[in-house]
């Protein structure tokens, strides 16, 4: 499958806004990394995984942490193991101390570049890394190539992976980094879109319950809580309500802990009881 043939049109588990579909497809065809930002719970990570599933591609995921270094994402050399083998022998493991590659552990980027076929590479929550790590990744992602320092050998992707990057913060990424990506901010779904999403997840739940839950959900969001409930909270809540088997009573909302996560928000909610204006 060449880049120009790939088109993503949503899947049975993921509601794809037509506009977002356009964006994903432009990124796929231009072979540029797509940086997705947006509130938690808007399906940034999920999008990359669903693209891979729909196009039947394998996924390599780098879950970023603040301690991660750019090199680790490409490869690490297991020096300790090699030292150990040099001293005590590698036994029957088949490793050869003379062979550098026997002690290389490939990171997600390394695996994606060496896959020899089209894969999806997801760099999840890139904003958690240090900014110099992001700078290191810049050229690697742009050229689809990195160098193994120890033996001064370049690893190059013959087939560029489809790169997705997610970020929760909007400003921490540097301008040069942003320049190398297509950036899209996923806006919070409108009630209509949310309805589609909810229907995908709960196809047999009674429309009455869905409607009641969504009305309450959007009113709660308007109240300006510190951590307003997002899509995933709504989905959990509907699931919980369904198991309970009763319509939510607006005067005494059940299972509020599923929707509001912060202690301060829950207190604020209790102080001002939910009433339907």
């Amino acid at each position: 499958m060449t880049a120009s043939e790939m088109r993503f049109a949503g899947s049975d588990r993921y509601y794809l806004d037509p506009e977002l579909a356009g964006i994903v497809n432009v990124a796929l065809q231009m072979e540029k990394p797509l940086l997705l930002t947006g509130e938690a719970g808007t399906g940034k990570t999920q999008l990359a995984l669903e693209v891979a599933r729909a196009l039947a591609l394998e996924v390599e995921v780098l879950r970023c942490k603040s301690t991660i270094k750019g090199e680790e994402a490409c490869y690490t050399q297991d020096t300790v193991l090699r030292l150990n083998d040099a001293r005590f022998g590698s036994g029957g493991t088949g490793r050869d101390v003379q062979n550098f590659y026997d002690y290389v552990v490939w990171g997600p980027i390394g695996r994606a570049f060496r896959a020899g076929k089209k894969v999806v590479l997801l760099l999840d929550e890139i904003d958690k890394t240090e900014s110099d790590v992001q700078d290191n990744l810049l050229d690697i992602l742009e050229d689809c190539e990195f160098t193994i320092r120890e033996i001064n050998t370049r690893v190059r992707a013959e087939i560029r992976p489809a790169i997705f990057i997610t970020s929760n913060a909007k400003r921490e990424l540097s301008d040069p980094f942003l320049r190398r990506c297509y950036c899209h901010h996923i806006a919070f779904p409108s009630p209509d879109q949310m309805h589609e999403i909810v229907k995908l997840h709960y196809p047999i739940t009674s429309p009455k319950l869905l409607k009641a839950a969504m009305d309450i959900f959007y009113q709660l969001r308007d109240r300006g809580y510190e951590k307003p409930p997002a899509t995933s909270e709504l989905l959990d809540w509907i699931g919980a309500l369904e198991r309970r088997g009763a319509l939510p009573d607006p005067k005494d909302l059940p299972l509020i802990g599923v929707l509001l996560k912060r202690a301060g928000d829950i207190q604020a909610f209790r102080a001002k009881k939910f009433t339907r204006e």
Partner: protein
């Protein structure tokens, strides 16, 4: 399609974007061309997507981009403000619409006085909505309204007219929803946008976790192991900042902003080693106060003893009588404080001691140069970097506070 025409077509668009504050450049334009050559654009929806991906990197530029797109390709001039915002009355778009409507006889010549601002605003938005609806279906390249400064013929020559039913919603209708307006940099800081501002404050961090080689421990351990080298790492000392907040809580107008700022910095507590808050009235005199009723005085000189890399944020409207700022005994309370030194000297000393100082002003930046703005604001602006309480202002403040250059 030959290559020339759409080069020319989008060059103008790049300049328009730059006018709207979107930093678009040549590489972006080449990107667009590459996309067009690959046949990615079949209708207006595709064009909107391709142009936006190529030109917009930051969510705060999203709304300006969409407005520029609507103007350039549809001739629909959308003002920068949200619906319901009385600022609309000041925008050129509103004025032009009003003049035009009166000219055409749609409105009474004295409509501005005969109708309430609310009514006028409603009419304006209705008209705008009609305009965006007219284009629904995306079958036209540019609008029929003819208000666009970019003429119809300019595009037609290029032969890039695209007719094609939109797959879903027309590009213009999408723009009309103004989904990104809450993120625009010119927005005032409100509870809803607070989260956005908080995110920008994540910048306020000088060093992340890093591991440093502990040489002493390494030698000790290696000796113990009989010469086998054993590397020991330790957590590098994490440098955290001190922050002094100086808040003008003199006037009633300041009250909502005081709460907002304290909330803002309170949330960021873990970024700072400590946060101290002091209060003053209009400007800093010999004493500031450690409580908001201004009963517990603290000598301003004592503040100056803080380490020089302490961050200082002043919050106030910088508006007072000129005497209060520049004359000895200028302020009413300077007598009781026995304060002969003009306040401006104290401000200068603060700015000199603490390089990373920002003055946050609730008066929007656009009004700072107006003739009605108190003279003192301009004076204080010469001493401190002044930012307004918009998302852009907070960003500017964060940049100043986290500036690493020349701190020590």
């Amino acid at each position: 399609m030959s290559r020339e025409p759409y080069n020319a077509l989008f060059v103008d668009f790049v300049y328009l974007l730059r006018d709207y504050g979107v930093p678009a450049g040549l590489p972006d334009l080449l990107e667009v061309n590459a996309g067009l050559e690959r046949g990615l654009v079949k209708d207006m929806d595709d064009l909107l997507v391709l142009l936006r991906l190529s030109f917009v990197r930051r969510v705060e530029h999203m709304d300006p981009f969409e407005r520029a797109f609507a103007l350039y390709f549809y001739g629909v001039d959308i003002p920068a403000v949200a619906e319901g915002d009385p600022e609309l009355l000041r925008t050129p778009q509103f004025r032009e619409w009003l003049a035009r409507a009166i000219e055409k006889g749609d409105l009474h010549p004295l409509a501005r006085w005969k109708m309430s601002p609310e009514e006028l605003m409603k009419k304006f938005w209705e008209r705008l909505r009609e305009q965006t609806e007219e284009h629904h279906g995306g079958s036209k390249w540019i609008g029929t309204g003819g208000t666009s400064p970019y003429g119809h013929s300019g595009f037609a020559q290029g032969g890039v007219r695209m007719y094609g039913e939109s797959r879903s919603r027309s590009a213009l209708k999408v723009i009309g929803e103004r989904r990104y307006i809450a993120y625009a940099d010119t927005n005032e800081l409100r509870n809803e946008t607070l989260r956005q501002a908080l995110e920008s404050m994540k910048h306020l961090r000088r060093d992340g976790p890093r591991t440093a080689l502990d040489i002493d421990a390494t030698i000790r351990r290696s000796a113990k192991e009989g010469g086998e080298i054993d590397l020991v790492f330790r957590q590098e000392f994490r440098d955290r900042m001190r922050l002094v907040l100086l808040i003008d809580n003199g006037g009633e107008s300041m009250t909502p902003f005081v709460e907002l700022t304290r909330l803002l910095f309170g949330k960021m507590r873990d970024r700072f080693e400590n946060i101290e808050t002091f209060y003053f009235h209009n400007t800093v005199l010999r004493k500031v106060f450690s409580d908001d009723r201004r009963t517990r005085p603290v000598e301003t000189e004592k503040l100056l003893l803080r380490p020089p890399d302490t961050r200082v944020v002043m919050i106030g409207d910088a508006s007072m009588g000129p005497d209060e700022l520049v004359s000895p005994y200028g302020a009413l309370s300077s007598y009781e404080m026995g304060d002969s030194e003009p306040s401006i000297c104290r401000l200068r000393r603060l700015a000199k001691r603490f390089r990373k100082t920002v003055w946050l002003n609730p008066i929007p930046r656009t009004h700072w140069n107006s003739p009605h703005t108190p003279w003192t604001l301009g004076q204080i602006r010469r001493i401190f970097q002044m930012e307004d309480m918009t998302l852009g202002g907070i960003k500017g403040m964060v940049e100043r506070l986290s500036d690493k250059t020349g701190s020590e």
